[in-house]
Symmetry: C2
Subunit: 512 residues, 2 copies
């Protein structure tokens, strides 16, 4: 109760300060789709892939490495264990997946920022994992904690990002065994949106839980999901001890996990779309089933991070037709499992936030929306195959996420939307700009970019003929200058600082 | 028969020369979709919009201005004529549309380049109409005939453009009353892909027919569709004499026409999506019905060029959620009319071929593919709201059209595509790069850009850190340097030259 009270005060203070600021702080609710999903696989294709995935699990099996407890759980559940190989009898994994919820709430410290993951919803989160950052002024360089904090602030201020994410970039100036503490503290204190926990070691998952208990209260965390964390499967068909260790911590605590193969098609999966979908489905079924062995009902998200390889250079490619097909197909397969779906993002292989970045990111964002994705990591800031978090790309992507919101709203056909009186009023050869219907509706009729230049050529030219990257750089500066930290109870703030300090002091720096 | 013989010879010579050239000349067949359409309107919404469109036609009516013959045709068909206003009784327009073919063949002088417009197909054509061109070296300037010819050559060499288009840019150095002759001659002699006719005056439509008769033979043109031309409706609800005059010439000759409202939502149509779809449907039904009054069975394409207005600057905007909704919805409405569908394109409001151009164009291209578009004008080269034809953007868009081809192919699930043996061979923890399935399939497994840089960062940086516009500029130069004209019977070539020369001499230059 005490937490909930502080919580409301924080939200109110934040809103007041935002009103005083130079920029209006707006936050869209997560997307509730009012449009259908695009389904690329027909009934026959679905059945073939599902049958083959069961064959993979039973006949080939999956490896749970250096994890005797996992092997024991699988044995007890009825799997056939040979060494570290788990052969899962046909139907068992699917049955185990059935206890995972189809939809769940992830709580934020500001209740207005809670997200509902699953169903017809789409929750958008920033890029995750790049060791480098890039901006127009400073070029490409290793990311540091100051960059990370800037991205948390930008995410907090972005209307269309519902989630603060996790490792938006790697703060390489902090020791590997300590940086998760600073990242979590930044998400918790610089933003009031939901966030992700650390997965690089089970101990760091426990830190994430402990800090969340300081933020939300121990009882609240025991009863509610306050984190969703990214558990990668080591494709093909391998579940390593570090990631499974983190999953075990989170699942046991009722905290959310994205269970997601990381696949470069042609390298970690077959070169064909159907073959990749088969392996991805088998991997997700095994991983989700395992989470339910740890704790039936643990909230999980079925993930698919899939890119294809350029066979000439070996580089991963993005925004490709094969990636779109997999995004659409995986959505169908995971919905038939009754699981929330994570995929897509503002993906690109481009080294700069240029036209290539725009095409590829839009291809992937559109596939994610129409493919029924429920949780989209990497929705803003991704550049250079995920090696770089770009400040300019971040605000470009965040702006384009408004297009997804608008499209997902569907087509209203109430009497006002039908506009028959407007067509009558204007008539053949007339003009709608001044008509009553336009006057009444124009402010909310069309989505409007807050970044792009809609001015006439001559004006744009006089103002310096700026490209989108230049406009984005200006917007980054404007947002960061206007940032105001959301209020947080001083006791909680101190509690977090204290935890981080004590934990850091308890061990020497390690850089691996 | 004589034409057909020459025709085959031309194609063979062209193929041989292309093999000798430094670039492989490839031409994809038009897209045959193996994926479903995305349908955004439910049954109730479709019925409301269709009912309202009939109300618009009956109660409000449409204007056929300065066209007594059109009014007479409508009167004879059972419409109620008041002045220039045609009130079309409920159901009449839809009944008249029924004689238009659901699909038709547009012939090219190279039979391998024939296109089938309708059904599950998608035919891609370049940008149409810009008075300006832009390239990296020369900036933005008025288009001239030399630019036009370059674009015809680039279209001819673009694997994924199936159609040579029409006014790719306006050759402003040629008199308005003569430039159509030079444009047609360029399409006919510099390319062997299908092309569009002139619509700016009924007399120019007749020139287009006469020159096509020289190219294909009079008998062939009498029996076959060799042109598809763009007839814009003057929204709201107005059919002007010039465009209808051109439509009358083409329909009477059995030549194809795109009958297409040109709508900026909020200006020429209501600000709501449902209201815009209502008006667009009414306009298309009236226009297509009229084409069938001229000649039942005349091949037509139902068009929708729809953008929304930025209410602050008055500028048209592109790649917006509302535009996508209209693209999806109009496709459903036109398919229920049994007509081929034209919409979408590589649309953008960007002044440069930058990230904005990429995002917006990809948004529109994806909506066009998934929305069931059969003929996509403006599929390459569009910039700055259609004011500019950009050389760099042209090759960028043309490259991205490969993504549409790949996605439309659907997901194969034959035994090779299932790849179960590959998953068996590689097993948990293995690698697919060397496996037999990858070796057998990698060359055609993934779509590969012919433009974008997939090299590692360090290599790319050493090579000048070029952005996509720079890569595109280099590709434009490379393509134009490698261009070789497809063979044409010298008699036909001379016939065309002679027609153009005589026609030009017959009248003084006019610049309006």
């Amino acid at each position: 109760m005490a937490e909930r009270k502080r919580h409301r005060r924080g939200g109110g203070g934040s809103a007041r300060r935002a009103q005083r600021g130079s920029l209006k702080l707006e936050a869209s609710r997560f997307i509730r789709r009012n449009i259908p999903n695009f389904e690329i696989l027909d009934a026959e294709a679905l059945e073939i892939i599902e049958t083959n995935a069961e064959t993979v699990l039973e006949e080939i099996g999956v490896n749970f490495v250096e994890n005797p407890a996992a092997l024991a759980r699988w044995r007890d559940a009825g799997a056939d264990i040979r060494g570290e190989r788990v052969h899962i009898p046909r139907g068992l994994a699917r049955r185990l997946c059935a206890t995972a919820p189809a939809s769940f709430t992830q709580h934020a410290r500001n209740k207005a920022r809670n997200v509902e993951i699953g169903g017809r919803n789409l929750v958008l989160a920033p890029v995750y994992g790049p060791p480098f950052v890039r901006d127009r002024a400073g070029g490409r360089r290793y990311a540091v904690m100051a960059d990370f904090e800037k991205f948390v602030r930008l995410t907090y201020m972005s209307k269309y990002l519902h989630h603060s994410g996790g490792t938006i970039c790697e703060p390489t100036d902090i020791a590997v065994n300590k940086r998760h503490l600073d990242m979590l503290a930044a998400h918790m204190t610089l933003s009031d949106k939901p966030y992700m926990g650390s997965v690089t070691d089970p101990e760091r998952a426990r830190d994430s839980l402990a800090m969340s208990e300081i933020l939300f209260g121990r009882d609240f965390v025991a009863d509610n999901t306050v984190m969703v964390s990214l558990i990668n499967i080591n494709s093909p068909l391998t579940f390593d001890a570090t990631m499974m260790g983190a999953l075990e911590v989170y699942a046991a605590a009722g905290q959310g996990a994205i269970i997601s193969p990381f696949v470069v098609g042609g390298a970690m999966a077959p070169v064909s779309v159907a073959g990749t979908l088969t392996q991805v489905l088998a991997e997700v079924m095994a991983g989700v089933a395992y989470s339910q062995l740890v704790r039936p009902g643990a909230p999980v998200i079925a993930g698919a991070f899939v890119t294809s390889i350029d066979m000439n250079s070996g580089a991963p490619t993005f925004g490709t037709p094969e990636a779109a097909q997999i995004t659409y197909g995986a959505g169908q397969l995971f919905r038939r499992l009754g699981l929330p779906y994570r995929s897509a993002g503002a993906f690109t292989g481009a080294k700069l936030a240029d036209a290539q970045a725009g095409y590829e990111s839009a291809n992937s964002l559109n596939a994610g929306l129409l493919g029924g994705v429920n949780f989209m990591l990497h929705a803003a800031g991704w550049l250079e195959g995920g090696l770089v978090a770009s400040f300019e790309k971040f605000v470009m992507d965040a702006d384009q996420l408004g297009v997804l919101h608008g499209l997902a709203g569907g087509v209203a056909v109430d009497e006002n939307a039908q506009a028959l009186d407007a067509i009558r009023e204007v008539g053949p050869g007339g003009h709608y700009l001044g008509c009553a219907h336009t006057q009444a509706n124009f402010q909310n009729a069309f989505w409007r970019s807050e970044l792009l230049d809609y001015k006439p050529f001559e004006t744009w030219d006089e103002e310096g003929a700026r490209d989108t990257e230049a406009l984005a750089a200006a917007r980054v500066d404007k947002l960061l200058a206007a940032y105001e930290q959301p209020a947080l109870d001083p006791g909680i703030d101190e509690g977090l600082r204290d935890y981080v300090a004590r934990k850091k002091e308890s061990m020497p720096d390690a850089f691996s």
